[in-house]
Symmetry: C2
Subunit: 329 residues, 2 copies
């Protein structure tokens, strides 16, 4: 079961090690013809004559990313589609189309799987990204693998962060994790307005396509927060060879009041949810202060060094490294 | 469990109905900007300035498409990659790159999943199609979803078959189904040379990329045989609004002698395996007799009408409609 957590003691998680291993293996296999960027960012980049094509794949698996009792089929379709397209948003790409590979239990009632497809179709409409093909297969577990292509004149990569950049948060963090905790701990009859709003944040995230496009020419680097702010910040830090220093007071201010209230009621930590909980599909970017768009909030600075740090007061910092790890014991 | 079968009595299978429903749903959702072809062929087609981009996704799921005791991790990686790229072969496309979405049990030993990746990397090298990204997630069941992009000057679609075309078979049919039956029915210690070769056909199929490219300008229509000759022939018949009449003696001659010998030993039908068993990833094409390439074998003719027919002697024909259905009870 997926639960948000923070594990500062295991900076090199098994999942990241696997990805590094795969990157070495596949990177050495074949020369990349017409491919300007391979493995390692939110998405692959293919050379085009009128800009770059951005190409991503994302999976949404039952009992890993969701439980069927937590959401309707339509919410599941919506959610998985937005999660996949969030990688395009992070690269500053305009969606072109998507393919959906559905694996469904043979016994699933048609209302649920048709709901999934309706949710995908609704997301496709809202995001301007039609489903133009796919695959359907049997499985014991529901899983939805969505691959999407977008186009951009200039992709925003993880590797461009520079010392003296601000760290920008676009969208919310912690609300989806709060919602997930509500779903796990509180029966629906007892939900208050705050809880309901947080559950909605988990069930109905929105890929920030317009914001990603608006970051082109402003941000030096960008990633979408799918596995947790701290873990995804680390991807930027590693790719750019810099340290990301999050300002705790600014981050705390960025957390929605309702998330803090839900944390109080559940005995959780809103800051932990913000740092460790993914699935809000906010964008994390870096760029010069004068280029910060109105919709972005400054939550720290890029500095020389390595790693991801949380600074409570100037000079007092702790390392916050890991996000969600699919293969942690 | 996936078993080859023939069901002439249920021409409209549940899987095909689902796909038709999805096609209507997604087709109406969003206008297709820059997309010349949406759902309904082996792959989607995206408009390019120097030809068309062909885009496909395919899934390989444990206990549906394979069992882990039937093959090594490396064979699984190889097989899933070739199966996905077979859709590019069918469209006459040259592969550019692929993304792999892996879902793996947390308990899987590293030898097996690294084997999967090594098999993918080897296939990538042989097929000239690098893995340039992907996704990795936990699941209870192994599944590999592979999305691939290729390029072609002129995609070969399912809809171009014309009355008086020959029906061409490129590659073998029935060998993989024979191998699958051996795996299910005969313990490895008892395999003879024929059985071993058929098992190899199932474990190590090869996407016919070069042949697909060579069909451009020759074939009017093409599909890869992944779900069974009869079912895949039906896709061409439906898309082209014609009847495909398979000549039984020609088809029987096209079946490898070793497949017939294995059928005899197992009490199976080589013709049934050829018609109903997919996973050889042969190509089925149609085109004028004078354009038939040396590597293609004529196994019938396209005629006016509807459906797929097996003709034993002139005038004596039976309907053979269905391939493998993922959702048949």
């Amino acid at each position: 079961m997926r639960t948000p957590r923070r594990r500062a003691k295991h900076p090199l998680s098994e999942e990241f090690e696997r990805i590094a291993w795969l990157t070495r293996l596949f990177g050495s296999a074949v020369p990349l013809n017409g491919v300007t960027l391979g493995i390692g960012d939110d998405a692959a980049v293919l050379k085009g004559t009128t800009g770059e094509w951005i190409w991503t794949i994302d999976a949404c698996v039952e009992d890993v990313h969701f439980r069927t009792k937590w959401l309707t089929g339509e919410e599941l379709g919506w959610r998985s589609y937005n999660a996949a397209l969030s990688d395009l948003a992070a690269m500053g790409a305009r969606p072109i189309g998507a393919l959906s590979s559905l694996a469904l239990p043979a016994t699933m009632d048609s209302k649920f799987w048709q709901g999934i497809a309706r949710g995908q179709a609704r997301a496709a409409k809202v995001l301007g990204c039609p489903v133009i093909g796919g695959n359907i297969t049997r499985a014991t577990q529901i899983s939805i693998h969505t691959t999407a292509i977008g186009q951009t004149k200039s992709p925003i990569l993880r590797e461009g962060a520079q010392p003296s950049d601000e760290i920008w948060l676009v969208g919310n963090v912690g609300a989806a994790a709060a919602g997930l905790n509500v779903l796990m701990q509180v029966s629906e009859a007892k939900w208050d307005t705050d809880m309901r709003a947080c559950v909605r944040a988990w069930r109905q995230p929105r890929a920030l396509i317009a914001q990603g496009l608006a970051l082109i020419g402003r941000a030096h680097s960008c990633i979408d927060i799918s596995d947790g702010l701290s873990g995804d910040a680390r991807h930027i830090a590693n790719a750019s060879n810099v340290a990301l220093v999050l300002d705790e007071p600014s981050l705390v201010r960025a957390i929605l009041p309702r998330v803090k209230r839900v944390a109080m009621r559940l005995g959780g930590s809103a800051l932990d949810w913000a740092l460790g909980g993914g699935e809000d599909y906010a964008l994390l970017a870096t760029g010069p202060a004068r280029m910060r768009p109105a919709f972005a909030r400054c939550i720290g600075t890029v500095q020389q060094g390595r790693g991801v740090w949380l600074e409570r007061t100037p000079g007092e910092r702790i390392s916050v490294q890991a996000g969600f790890d699919h293969f942690a014991p």
